[in-house]
């Protein structure tokens, strides 16, 4: 079974040796983005799929998203 995970804490994903993890700088409770934003959720799911397809070695990749409500 191939796995890909959303990551909210890179140190934990690295310590657990997650095969593929996509780090988002979102607050806990919002791993796929903001509520009511299906476009954002779909984009992140697509990022996870692309990581599954393209990663040729284990590791964590940081996705280029920011949490706008933190401003």
């Amino acid at each position: 079974m191939s796995t890909v995970s959303v990551c909210l804490r890179p140190d934990i994903s690295l310590a657990m040796k997650a095969p593929r993890a996509a780090y988002v700088r979102f607050p806990l409770g919002n791993p796929m983005g903001e509520p009511g934003r299906p476009d954002q959720q779909a984009r992140i799911l697509e990022d996870l799929f692309e990581l599954l397809e393209t990663a040729d070695e284990p590791g964590v990749v940081e996705l280029p998203y920011r949490w706008r409500r933190w401003l």
């Binding site: 890909v4 690295l14 095969p19 806990l28 409770g29 796929m32 903001e34 959720q41 393209t54 996705l63």
Partner: protein, 170 residues
């Protein structure tokens, strides 16, 4: 190619140990582990032909399933089966270590089942598993997760002929 940049493990050196020390100081049952063996299973076939399951640790369960035990110091290592055709309004989020208000407004924030179904409809992935998995991430001693729950979940998903698992935290 995937968007984003590769995280340099050196940037996070020592952070996990700090967190382990924090958990140890605040929870009686703390027994965090490090994983020693790096696993990396390539896709066995293209995603458009693969069966995909969601595994959430956001405390996801159905309204008629037993909620996760969140008041015990040891956490709760059990899991719940979430059928693929579930009405998302039946999902509950029992977890006291993150703010569940976003999930309650929009379950797809922690359990992106609608988005997975759209990916199936679009032909991006082959199929959704008939069942998905709900777990609750607060487990200061993850021994039972590693030794009992994870193998049981693998057995369930193998029986469903799942080839790809998308893991989503809370």
């Amino acid at each position: 190619m995937t968007r984003g940049r590769r995280v340099d493990p050196r940037d996070y050196e020592g952070k996990y140990d700090q967190w382990v020390a924090f958990i140890g100081a605040n929870h009686h049952a703390s027994n965090p582990r490090r994983v020693e063996t790096q696993r990396f299973t390539p896709l066995s076939r293209p995603l458009r032909e693969s069966r995909v399951a969601l595994v959430s640790t956001a405390g996801v369960h159905l309204d008629d399933q037993e909620p996760f035990h969140v008041e015990t110091v040891a956490g709760d290592s059990s899991y719940r089966l979430i059928p693929d055709d579930v009405d998302l309004s039946r999902l509950r989020f029992t977890h006291t270590h993150y703010d569940t208000s976003s999930a309650e407004k929009d379950p797809n924030v922690v359990f992106p089942l609608d988005r997975l179904h759209e990916a199936v409809d679009d032909g991006r992935v082959g199929a959704a598993s008939a069942v998905h998995i709900g777990m609750m991430g607060f487990n200061p001693d993850p021994g039972a997760i590693a030794d009992v729950t994870a193998p049981a979940v693998v057995e369930v998903l193998s029986a469903e002929e799942v080839e790809v698992v998308v893991l989503v935290p809370g």
